[in-house]
């Protein structure tokens, strides 16, 4: 503090003696766990990138803190027939360089977003199969070959860039700031990778503006260092507060803790496609017909898991037990599914009914650096299963090794493991996302079941999901998605454990709209009055 005091004293003297310097600017310093891999909004479809891209570049539709659709650069949208959607664009919006925003910028975005060279994960998924047509400067029509109800959700995912500044611009031009000119609430100032990322307020923004003149982002990967930086006053706000520190920070009078349930469910996927599952064995290690194919065994596993204990002990209370794929409040969630109550007796009798009164041997595989407390959850699950006779071994590994093996480590690129712990965050904010990727039958040619690591397959679920994805009527789609979830969960296509809770912490007096999509939208940080 002495040094800093000395330094600020110098700054004050300088400010007094130099009549040209302005009044002290109001800065906000934010410590984030992850920094973006690029400033180019279309380069990498990754949570930290998207969270910061939306500050500089607006989207047609902006997700609010609960992932609900809110007007962005489009003021309204509607399906004018089964195949075409009409978007009315906001008038009078200007890019940071003063040029006006028009339909041409949207068309330009559609051309660039799926085609960024070397993109490690592009936005093609949301753009391809859509034809865009300019009606006038502020009206566009987007059409698809088949009815496509998720059009507004897709328009919520990618940033609109400027045709004038983006033509011919490379990812490097965005990183240097040359092309990082959007319509967003913050203007890009500079990026020193690994050190800081600086934004300033866009005073001409069409929507709500933050009170800060500048927002400075510091990447602090190490969790204790991030907490220490907040306690030491070096940063005003941090994300990803480690669960282990939450108890302590609650008692700290200088700190304001914020949290929100996230759209990420932690679940167990179960081998559903092999008669001979490599990590499910008879007692003593002999061969056995894959017992996980029996619905009663899967149900027994689900009943044997004490979700309350996991939430209380492993997650330190910072999680919410799950009974389906998304927490209530999200679109497509079933009102009938509740988290299963812990019932070891019921589990044992189900095992007995399945002809396995003495259980069997199983290995649970889990990453150890991907989800909050992932390895500890796997250990807890293994202990609970061992209590009903399923002798469960635990094998954890870094995510860099885990995901390849879990997705395609076996022969013919099939999933290698029998019983895996994974998490899923619904990027579109509704239930078709996990249903389509986790529970629909694996179908490479149509892009279904891409993360179905248990290869669960149920024609009834497939039919309901596909029907939902072709139903534009909201009420009907909601019912179809809820029904599909019910069928899959009752059949134990996967076992939901809990929903993660995201935590943020700030200096007392600083507040934030806690979000469900695990991203930190720094322009929504405000000082409580």
């Amino acid at each position: 503090m002495y040094l800093r005091k000395a330094f600020s004293a110098i700054a004050v003297v300088a400010a007094v003696t130099l009549p040209m310097s302005v009044a002290v600017a109001k800065d906000l310093v934010v410590g984030l766990k992850a920094e973006p891999s690029s400033i180019d909004p279309h380069y990498h479809n990754l949570t930290p990138n998207n969270a910061l891209a939306r500050e500089v570049f607006d989207r047609l539709i902006m997700p609010d803190e609960a992932q609900q659709l809110k007007p962005g650069l489009a003021v309204s949208w509607k399906a004018i027939d089964d195949l075409t959607w009409e978007f009315k664009l906001r008038k009078g919006v200007k890019f940071h360089d003063g040029s006006p925003f028009t339909a041409d910028d949207v068309i330009f975005t559609f051309e660039r977003a799926p085609n960024v060279p070397n993109s490690p994960s592009s936005f093609a998924t949301y753009v391809k199969g859509k034809t865009i047509k300019k009606i006038d400067d502020h009206t566009i029509h987007i059409s698809t070959k088949k009815p496509y109800p998720l059009m507004p959700n897709d328009m919520m995912t990618f940033s609109i860039i400027s045709k004038k500044n983006g033509t011919g611009a490379t990812t490097e031009d965005y990183n240097s700031g040359k092309a990082a000119i959007g319509t967003g609430v913050l203007k890009f100032v500079e990026w020193v990778p690994g050190d800081r990322l600086v934004y300033e307020r866009n005073d001409d923004y069409w929507g709500e503006k933050p009170e800060w003149d500048r927002i400075i982002i510091k990447p602090i990967k190490s969790a204790p260092a991030r907490v220490a930086a907040l306690l030491a006053g070096d940063v005003d706000f941090i994300d990803n507060v480690p669960t282990i520190d939450i108890g302590r920070l609650k008692k700290e009078p200088k700190v304001n803790l914020m949290s929100s349930i996230s759209n990420r469910v932690i679940y167990l996927h179960i081998d559903q496609f092999r008669e001979d599952s490599p990590y499910a064995k008879a007692n003593g290690g002999g061969k056995i017909k894959n017992p996980l194919l029996d619905q009663r065994v899967r149900k027994a596993i689900s009943l044997a898991i004490n979700r309350d204990a996991i939430v209380e002990r492993v997650m330190e209370g910072v999680a919410i037990k799950a009974g389906q794929l998304l927490p209530k409040g999200f679109f497509g969630v079933s009102p009938n599914l509740k988290p299963l109550e812990y019932d070891p007796k019921g589990a044992k009798s189900l095992l007995k009914a399945a002809g396995l009164p003495n259980g069997f041997e199983l290995t649970i595989h889990s990453p150890n650096d991907r989800y909050i407390n992932d390895a500890k959850i796997a250990e807890a699950v293994a202990q609970m299963l061992s209590r009903i006779g399923i002798k469960t071994a635990v094998e954890t590994m870094p995510k860099s090794v885990y995901f390849k093996r879990a997705s395609r480590g076996g022969p013919n690129k099939t999933p290698e493991f029998s019983f895996v712990l994974v998490g899923w965050g619904a990027g579109t904010g509704e239930a078709s996302s996990p249903l389509k990727s986790l529970l629909h039958t694996y179908d490479k040619s149509r892009g279904f079941g891409s993360s179905n690591r248990g290869r669960y397959s149920n024609p009834e679920v497939d039919k309901l999901v596909e029907e939902a994805l072709a139903t534009v009527d909201e009420g009907k789609r909601q019912n179809l998605l809820a029904k599909a979830t019910e069928v899959a969960i009752i059949d134990v296509g996967l076992i939901p454990l809990h929903y993660q809770v995201s935590s943020w912490a700030a200096k007392k007096g600083i507040d934030f709209k806690a979000r469900t999509d695990e991203s930190t939208v720094v322009s929504t940080i405000f000082s409580a009055k």
Binding site: N175, F403, G447
Partner: protein, 325 residues
């Protein structure tokens, strides 16, 4: 001398080549970068596009050959994650790491040698014993723990120093350095001390052992008999003779200081190469890992060469041997 250097250079090239092979094959055995890069909602077609774009569909030997050919042209590949040349990303962060390492080395030498020599000259005093037990702590306490404790005490509780990051920088010959600003120093001192702690203990122990040995030598006794001032005996005759092992070890350790400042950089969020490499390893950003290890190998090779040359400057016997051979 020049024959010696040429021979060493040729050996170095061989070492670099072998290392490139081991490193490249090694990182290609672990996991699949695509899983780290891709958004989980992407479909199978998009996953395959990424695999193709990154060249991961090619067999490993073909990838290695591409790498070697490009490396000859000075191109060590593009980062999977950042999409920019790996070499550029590493060089961009090098000044921060070098600054930290030099500062740590400076602290280790300026604090370590005087303490070690003092302990060697007065082996039985209480102060010496305290220094020596202190050096054992410096050896055995894990760096990340000491770093966190320093943050707790000096940043959180006392509030004297900032806890994280690099301070204000000023350009010197186009390179951004922070040790010329007050704010820069306030950010630099804790991580530098943290990084220096282990080396400092090493220097203390080396110079104490050296001093204990040298003070009993005949030439020191002779110098004392001649009536040379005590301070001159210590500063010139003792110092010169204990420097050889200290320089050897520090030379080797300096490479380590740069290459493995990972822990300190992570704890203090120092924007250097160490932080880059650890994140590259976790995310399987293979080009960065390979480029980083190649640079590290080069660094070690060069440092060893410099140390060998320094020897011959410090110790005339080495020079004589070289001439004879």
């Amino acid at each position: 001398m020049s024959v010696f250097i040429i021979r060493r250079l040729m050996q170095s090239v061989a070492v670099v080549l072998i290392m490139s092979f081991i490193v490249f094959i090694g990182v290609n055995l672990v996991g699949d970068p695509v899983d780290m890069l891709i958004n989980p909602e992407a479909d199978q077609a998009e996953i395959e596009r990424v695999i193709r774009d990154l060249g991961l569909d090619r067999p490993v030997h073909e990838q290695y050959w591409f790498f070697l050919v490009n490396a000859m042209k000075g191109d060590l590949g593009k980062s999977f994650i950042f999409g920019e040349p790996a070499l550029k990303l590493i060089v961009q962060r090098m000044p921060a790491t070098l600054e930290l390492a030099f500062c740590a080395l400076f602290l280790a030498v300026t604090i370590g040698i005087p303490l070690g020599v003092y302990a060697g000259l007065n082996p039985d005093s209480k102060v010496s014993k305290t220094i020596m037990s202190g050096s054992i702590l410096g050896f055995s306490l894990p760096t990340f723990w000491v770093g966190l404790m320093m943050i707790m005490v000096f940043a959180v509780i006392l509030g004297w120093l900032p806890s994280t990051g690099r301070g204000d920088t000023v350009p010197v010959f186009g390179i951004q350095v922070s040790f010329l600003t007050l704010d820069g120093w306030s950010h630099l001192i804790m991580p530098a001390l943290n990084l220096a702690l282990f080396k400092m203990s090493l220097v203390i122990r080396l110079s104490r052992a050296g001093t204990r040995e040298v003070v009993h030598q005949d030439y020191i006794k002779f110098a004392r008999a001649k009536g040379i001032r005590y301070s001159r005996i210590v500063m010139v005759h003792v110092m010169k003779n204990i420097m050889i092992p200290v320089v050897t070890v520090l030379g080797l350790e300096f490479g380590g200081l740069i290459a493995f400042s990972v822990v300190t950089e992570t704890v203090f969020a120092w924007p250097g190469m160490g932080k880059l490499i650890i994140e590259a390893i976790q995310n399987l950003d293979r080009p960065i890992v390979v480029a980083y290890l190649m640079i590290t190998v080069l660094l070690f090779v060069v440092i060893n060469l410099v140390v060998d040359v320094l020897y011959s400057v410090l110790d005339p016997r080495v020079r004589l041997q070289d001439i004879k051979s």
